[in-house]
């Protein structure tokens, strides 16, 4: 297990996410997970990154129309970003609240819409920010450091 990737070049992975493409969202998280395992990163880091990617990609698939997931690995951290064209988020504070969801009925039927995705992401990341324009789209950025202050060990 390693704490940093001094000898590894920087890696950027990109995954397009289509509207209602739930399987791709899960699949992209699995693929990044595999890459991180090959790099020999700690189990806990991999677990947190996988959850963030899954939840972020699902939110694009469910709430926005389509977008792009970008995962960037550098020697100290992993950055996860989604950019979507979608409805945007009118009230970020409300959206971050556990249990708040505007998921449509068909998504609820599939087990989405607990309003836990953003709180999960926040818990798993060292930094999380949302930049959103109502009616235009949303950019979500999350960062996980290999040596974390908030998640020691």
């Amino acid at each position: 297990m390693v704490d940093s990737l001094q000898y590894t070049p920087q890696i950027t992975l990109e995954f397009p996410i289509g509207e209602k493409d739930f399987f791709m969202a899960g699949e992209s998280a699995s693929r990044v997970k595999k890459t991180l395992q090959q790099l020999g990163l700690k189990q806990d880091i991999i677990r947190r990154v996988a959850i963030i990617i899954y939840e972020a990609a699902m939110n694009v698939a469910i709430h926005a129309s389509h977008g792009l997931l970008t995962v960037h690995i550098d020697p100290e951290s992993i950055s996860i970003q989604t950019d979507d064209k979608g409805v945007g988020i009118p009230d970020i504070e409300l959206a971050m609240r556990e249990g708040y969801s505007t998921a449509p009925y068909e998504a609820q039927e599939m087990g989405f819409g607990a309003g836990m995705g953003l709180p999960n992401m926040k818990q798993c990341s060292d930094e999380l920010s949302l930049d959103t324009k109502v009616g235009k789209g949303t950019t979500l950025k999350a960062k996980v450091y290999f040596i974390s202050k908030e998640h020691p060990g």
Binding site: F22, A29, Y54, M110, G111, F112, M116, Q123
Partner: protein
């Protein structure tokens, strides 16, 4: 205990055929909310859920779940079963409710 042993002990129906049957099971989790499952399923778990959309396979794979149990003999679409085979995730089924099968699984896993 392995999936095969669990199948025998609880009389489960195996929908995915002879895949992954020797994999060890260490824990279980019951939930139909995917964000809850994603946050809480442990590695090598059996996940009990009534969700049958193809996306449960993404969750199971991401969390390294050993198998999925579908309660109440609920129907699954053939493409989900096929995909599960491809992804090496065993799907098991039982007539009991999620509550009952969770209790049975709990007893078996904690008593050994």
């Amino acid at each position: 205990m392995t999936i095969a042993q669990l199948v025998n002990a609880l009389g489960l129906e195996v929908l995915t055929g002879d895949i992954n049957m020797n994999r060890e099971i260490k824990a279980g989790y019951t939930s139909d909310l995917l964000s809850d499952a994603i946050a809480n399923i442990e590695e090598d778990s059996v996940w009990i859920t009534i969700q049958r959309h193809i996306n449960i396979l993404g969750v199971a794979k991401l969390k390294d779940a050993a198998a999925i149990i579908i309660p109440r003999n609920l129907q699954l679409e053939e493409n989900v079963i096929e995909k599960a085979r491809e992804e090496d995730i065993a799907i098991l089924r039982c007539p009991q409710s999620a509550f009952e099968i969770s209790g049975l699984l709990y007893n078996i896993l904690t008593r050994g």
